[in-house]
């Protein structure tokens, strides 16, 4: 494989590294790509921007040979190609950095990189040569990694560099990166963008899939915006703005209150304070006098592997405030939420909700106390996919009046409740009898939010409430959470999206390795300060 790819390298510099001309791809009745054309030239970063379901992944899967287009042509290095599998694309110098890393965790960095294309000597892997070639590549492209470390011991950012090296080792001239920043801290993201720019300086072309406008503006040379499978805009950062891109993506002006789009690459904090909607100001002033609804003291809990995940954590949330927990994923946020909601056993510490002791409470008891929980993983915890929208609208309250009486379900009450939720929360579904699985991600999430908001609650725990959903739904859910806060509900928001935490929170608690390392005011803190705290730097301003 390496030999075949080397011939590509030795060819004269192609004019177009990778292109799709008039790509159309249908899945049954759904047109995922409709006459889409894109072109990537050497040394450029092409950002593919679009909401979920806009057809970004379908397009790159066609370009990478995973899907065959129904119409249109793929061009690699100036040649029209009929790709029958990713092997054809890889052999032609196209590499993919997947969102979910395709690595073997216990194996070393070198072995992961050469896997499947190992240099051989006498039928054995030539480890010395493999190591040398990997080191050369890492030096050449400025991708520092320890070649002998086991991949599972590396931080996420370094694992991603291994993925990139894997593609470069196969002489990739084109890198397709699918949402590469989704799992990174702001610092790691900046580093990745530097690395990508370094690659382009050596003639590599990069296709960068994202829905984060800030990164597009910071890194892209060319921008292609997709909506509903069609190209709705081709532009460059110089010719556009984040607001204009957001409008292109969604197809209408977007108002997120917290202004995640008009803020520049820095200083969302200042943008928040200029968004002087009265509802944003009022709760802060009174927060000190409002009663504490959630009081966590010295909480400890273990993760699934039995490692301490939450470490003597203390936190309070008052009525009418949103406390945002910022942090890189995997620093105990999931375990914290599960321990509060009764899904995980706390090994030490206390949780009190509305002055009632909820330490060691079961999920049912937590619900009955008056807690709404938007779970992090909507497919695993939030919904039962095969259940109807109606059944899901009472999933954790089916036993309560008026949905049940004397152990019997009251279908009419459940159905009318579901119709209310669907109408109030704008859940797009043909009827309440449809299975939840037939809804789009955003509508599933609106169904969950609607369910949790329909009951009387004093505390809302929202874990990644807008993960993987489109901007329209994000806007809607943010507005609802703010409304609920203004009505006096205490909200604990846990999100890996720093932008979301900054946009919604009245206080930001930064979580690192199971502890709250700092509590900051989102109006005064900058992304950079919070990013450093998320990465484990010692706080300069004590909590």
């Amino acid at each position: 494989m390496a030999a075949a790819a080397e011939t590509v390298v030795s060819q004269a510099e192609p004019e177009v590294l990778l292109a799709g001309h008039g790509i159309t791809k249908r899945f049954g009745p759904v047109v995922a790509n409709d006459d889409v054309s894109v072109e990537l030239r050497p040394g450029r970063i092409l950002a593919l921007l679009g909401e979920n379901g806009a057809g970004k992944s379908t397009l790159v899967n066609v370009l990478f040979g995973l899907h065959r287009p129904d119409a249109g042509q793929v061009v690699i290095a100036d040649e029209h190609m009929e790709l029958s599998s990713p092997h054809d694309a890889i052999a032609r110098g196209v590499g993919m950095v997947h969102q979910h890393f395709q690595l073997v965790p216990p194996m070393s960095v070198v072995r992961n990189i050469v896997l499947g294309a190992e240099p051989r000597k006498l039928g054995m892997i030539d480890v010395a040569q493999a190591r040398r070639r990997v080191m050369d590549l890492a030096d050449r492209f400025g991708l520092g990694v320890d070649p002998d470390a086991a991949v599972e011991d590396l931080p996420v950012g370094a694992q991603q560099r291994v993925e990139i090296l894997k593609a470069l080792y196969r002489d990739a001239r084109v890198l397709i990166a699918d949402e590469p920043t989704a799992v990174l801290t702001p610092q790691e993201t900046d580093h990745l963008l530097d690395v990508l720019r370094g690659l382009t300086a050596q003639g590599v072309g990069i296709v960068f899939i994202t829905h984060k406008l800030r990164e597009v503006m910071a890194a892209a040379d060319d921008i292609v915006v997709l909506r509903e499978g069609k190209v709705v805009g081709t532009t460059t950062p110089a010719q556009t703005s984040e607001a204009a891109l957001a409008e292109l993506m969604v197809g209408r002006a977007v108002d997120l209150h917290g202004d995640r789009f008009e803020s520049g690459a820095t200083g969302v904090g200042s943008a928040v304070s200029t968004a002087a909607a009265p509802s944003d100001e009022a709760p802060i002033a009174e927060a000190g006098e409002r009663p504490v609804v959630l009081d966590i003291a010295g909480l400890c809990t273990d993760d699934d592997r039995g490692q301490r995940a939450v470490d003597e954590l203390s936190l309070t949330v008052r009525a009418g405030e949103i406390v945002g927990v910022a942090g890189v994923e995997g620093n105990g946020q999931r375990e914290l939420v599960e321990a509060i909601t009764g899904l995980r056993h706390a090994t030490a510490g206390t949780v009190s909700i509305s002055d009632r002791d909820a330490s060691g409470a079961r999920p049912r008891q937590v619900t009955v106390i008056g807690v709404g929980h938007i779970p992090e993983d909507r497919a695993k915890h939030g919904l039962i996919g095969s259940y109807s929208v109606a059944d899901n609208s009472v999933l954790n309250r089916y036993f309560k009046r008026p949905f049940a009486a004397g152990g019997m379900l009251r279908r009419d009450r459940i159905d009318s409740h579901a119709r209310d939720v669907v109408a109030t929360f704008d859940v797009r579904t043909p009827d309440v009898e449809s299975p939840a699985d037939s809804l789009s991600g955003g509508n599933k999430q609106k169904l969950i939010v609607g369910r949790e908001f329909a009951d009387e609650i004093d505390l809302l725990i929202a874990a990644q409430p807008t993960r993987g959903i489109d901007i329209g739904a994000i806007e809607f859910i943010w507005r609802r959470i703010r409304e609920r806060r203004d009505e006096g509900t205490a909200v604990l928001l846990v999100s890996a999206e720093l932008d979301e935490v900054l946009a919604l929170s009245d206080r930001v608690a930064v979580m690192y390795e199971g502890r709250i390392v700092a509590t900051v005011d989102p109006r005064s803190a900058t992304r950079e300060e919070i990013g450093l705290l998320m990465a484990g730097a010692t706080p300069t301003t004590p909590a």
Binding site: Q365, S386, D391, L409, D437
Partner: protein
Amino acid sequence: MTRTVLRAAAVPLASVVLGLVLGAALIAVQGHSVTTAYGALVLGGAGDADALLRTLQKATPLVFGGLAVAFAFKAGLFNIGGQGQLLVGAAFAAGVGFGLEGVPLVVHLPLALLVGAAAGAAWGAIAGVLKATSGAHEVIVTIMLNFVAGNLTDWLAANPWQDRSGSNIIARTPLVKPSAEIPTWGWLPAGFVLAALAAFACWFVLERTTYGFEVRSVGANRHAARYAGISVGWIMASTMAVAGLLAGLGGAIESLGVDGRFEAGVNVGLGFEGITIALLARTNPIAVIPAGLLVGLMEAGAAKMQFESGVAPEIIDVIQALILLFVAAPLIVRWLLRLRDTDDRRLTLGAGWGR
């Protein structure tokens, strides 16, 4: 409504037809007349009141066994233990049936049924409790408990409860007292009425009660069920107990309504056929009734078929196995019949695009 029912029933119905067609081919290859054989099969199973009675009696434990599998399946549990649960139900019901004397029918019969059902429930609950507390896999545990139940009931029938009358040396209990016998009204055995009622009761519990909601939630998504505040362990344990209760009731009716006693080795295999029935019914409790009737009819008519056409009755087992194969491998049937996939499947296939 009719459309959804038809769509759900398409694969099982097609499987039955395919099984019968292949069965016909096997009969023809042996040089027998297919029409004579199948004609005799139907006449032997439904030709007259006696035939109908035989079919309904055969179908009764099949329906109960099918329910025992189908109900557990709703909670995501695969109950292979119908056999063991049925055996303890049969043995203990017989024990009460012959052991008590001078009790009126209104007390004796319900008591015997209840004890049989309770024995089955306890037997099923063992596997459920172990699953809930230690994670022991219910398939393994119920298989092993089948052997324990088989040996336990054999021992009961051969030792403390053995019929000592005359020169009996067979491992069986005495006949149950008339006050514990399940009546038969003409061609209709009361036991079958109970089986049909049980099927409707299962449907009602699963679809209309909060408990059924919990059972189905645990089966459909255990994690979401926990999130919803459902005690997954309790549901697993109690569901297995209900499954055992159903199988045990089937066994009790065998002893009290058909055999008149419990005899070692007589009921072997009945519990396993419940798996066939449940799969054929696609675990729908109501559909268990026709599935049980179909298999019951084939078993009831097999003797007449052999008598009139010379076809070995084992052909029935082959046909049943073929039907099960087709039901378990619906892709074959869909391909053969060019059936469209259900909406759900298409959604699953299409879910990968555009993320």
